[in-house]
Symmetry: C2
């Protein structure tokens, strides 16, 4: 219970990790600062050196560091030419790596096996420390086999090889957030309009929709499956509301924001008010769509930049020699509430 803030003499040798933590930098940055390598501001280097000195860190312990055998580069493979999903993901990956002094080779492999193979071989040629594989959907492999490389591989938002480490969004959990939000607002007839049946996430979200309705004793309706488009949102409204308002839904949970935008536009054109008559929720939280929708759209955010950051940190940890359990890590989604669902009764 001493109030003395100066550190007690260490009994075991001070580790590089402790220096890094105390200086508020990554292990790799601390290593480079103390080696006189790498690029950082003079202030950062000086601060890390002072921290090492204060803690009694002995620089020659670095000689054993695995870090020195690294290229401080990683490869990021993606087939998401469109970029809606890979961009936030990449910004998260980059965020995790920049502090560790690691640079990223970005390789867009589209759906071309030969191109993907060339890129992977170029990465190995350049001795990347590891690879992050990302895609545009979590139920499809990249068009290249990464299972037997001699460097660590992390999968993010793409189908992993068996026995690999992968980070994906928790789609069931995200859908639950949406449907439970509508239920808490007093909505009773909650329809679900989603994308093509060939997508695994379509089934995951539809199942969560059905489960939540069942748990709360609400009537369960079959999901309407179609395309990931505004046009399908319009069509779905014609199906759901074409017979008049009697028995029609008072809420629509949509499989993506484009569908939701089509639903909201179509409802307005039928004179049905959102959120007064019908609450609407989207999925993806694609801000440029969600914010331009009238009214602005409540939507499920897959937290892809967090997912990218976790993937980046996991790769750094593997590269640093720390083993990790294989398997799929599902990361939680969050609900971004705007104006398309209204307020709770009395709220």
């Amino acid at each position: 219970m001493s109030s003395d803030a100066s550190p007690a003499p260490a009994k075991t040798p001070v580790t590089l990790r402790e220096v890094a933590a105390s200086a508020g930098v990554s292990v790799a940055t601390a290593s480079k600062a103390l080696n006189g390598q790498g690029r950082m501001t003079a202030e950062t280097r000086e601060r890390i050196r002072e921290t090492a000195q204060r803690l009694g860190f002995r620089p020659n312990s670095l000689a054993q560091s695995l870090l020195r055998r690294r290229s401080f580069t990683v490869g990021l493979l993606t087939n998401d030419t469109y970029g809606r999903f890979s961009l936030p993901l990449m910004s998260g990956v980059s965020d995790a790596l920049v502090d560790a002094g690691v640079s990223v080779f970005l390789c867009n492999v589209e759906d071309d096996t030969r191109l993907a193979q060339l890129h992977v071989e170029a990465m190995l040629d350049k001795r990347v420390d590891g690879i992050i594989a990302t895609g545009k959907r979590i139920d499809r492999h990249l068009p290249v086999d990464l299972a037997n490389l001699r460097i660590p591989v992390i999968y993010a938002f793409t189908q992993p090889d068996p026995g690999a480490i992968a980070f994906v969004s928790d789609d069931e959990g995200g859908a639950r957030l949406a449907v439970e939000h509508l239920w808490r607002l007093g909505r009773k007839r909650i329809a679900h309009v989603s994308g093509p049946a060939s997508f695994a996430v379509v089934h995951a979200r539809a199942e969560a929709h059905r489960d939540v309705l069942t748990e709360h004793g609400l009537p369960v309706s079959e999901p309407l499956l179609g395309a990931w488009s505004e046009a399908w949102g319009h069509e779905a409204v014609a199906k759901l509301f074409g017979g008049g308002r009697e028995g029609a839904p008072d809420a629509v949970f949509c499989g993506n924001d484009q569908i939701a935008r089509g639903v909201i536009d179509a409802l307005r054109e039928r004179g049905i008010g959102v959120p007064d008559d019908v609450g609407v929720i989207g999925f993806d939280n694609w801000e440029i769509v969600a914010e331009a929708t009238r009214p602005p759209l409540t939507s499920v955010d897959m937290n892809l930049s967090v997912l990218g950051r976790e993937a980046g940190l996991a790769l750094l940890s593997l590269v640093g020699g720390k083993p990790a359990e294989p398997g799929i890590r599902k990361l939680p989604c969050r609900l971004v509430v705007r104006q398309s669902c209204g307020r709770p009764p009395g709220g």
Copy 2:
């Protein structure tokens, strides 16, 4: 005038460039194939070797090649976290480089000078052969000085340093395409609704709008400047059509696709038909917006992937030691015609 297809014995030594051209690959790929370096399919390597043999190329001339002093990596700096512009641009850059066996370090520097400086230093550390600097608008510098690096730098869709080589879209030309298209369709009162006055492109496009109207003897109206948003499109329609249809425009050329979408939605809600009563053109050809607009939107495409490809090829050329004139290269836009302008009279 011989019909003999076999090559005559060369008088001057056959160059690597000739081998590459004949084999249909880049100089860098040819170099790597003949050195037994790099990664490519066995078929490609064999084809290049056969071509070299057929042409009488002597591999030892490679000893003088500058190519061997290269890292076959380049850095791509961007501050376009949003990615709408940098993604097609990057895909063009990557397209130009992949055949040359060059990998790309992607560095997102946001608007953070310190981060940008760290990334540039990391790139230099890794001995990149050159840097491509791209941004989200052509009238702003990246937050870092690239003027005095000892490696080639190409600017694409961002403000260059003086004396540099830059590729930008020809905004005046793009706007002319739009306004002349409306004029050819017989539109007489062509309004212009655009983004904030702080953007250079807003002035370039507005000037072209005025010039085309003047050239064709059509009445010139002041552009309405606002935000790059759908909401501003709605507001602008209220201003332009709030006094009734008498004297109101029969066409609106919009500064981007989001404004155009707002304009079209607002016109429909006033019972004004697009394209029958009013023709509308957007700018950017952002497909996900342009195709979902009702009716689908005719829009100016800045050809950013072509621009990226040209920038990539220009960098490769500089890296290969070929000098190039400094200056700004304006690349043409193209008009993508959908259904928002109608057909020409009698068309």
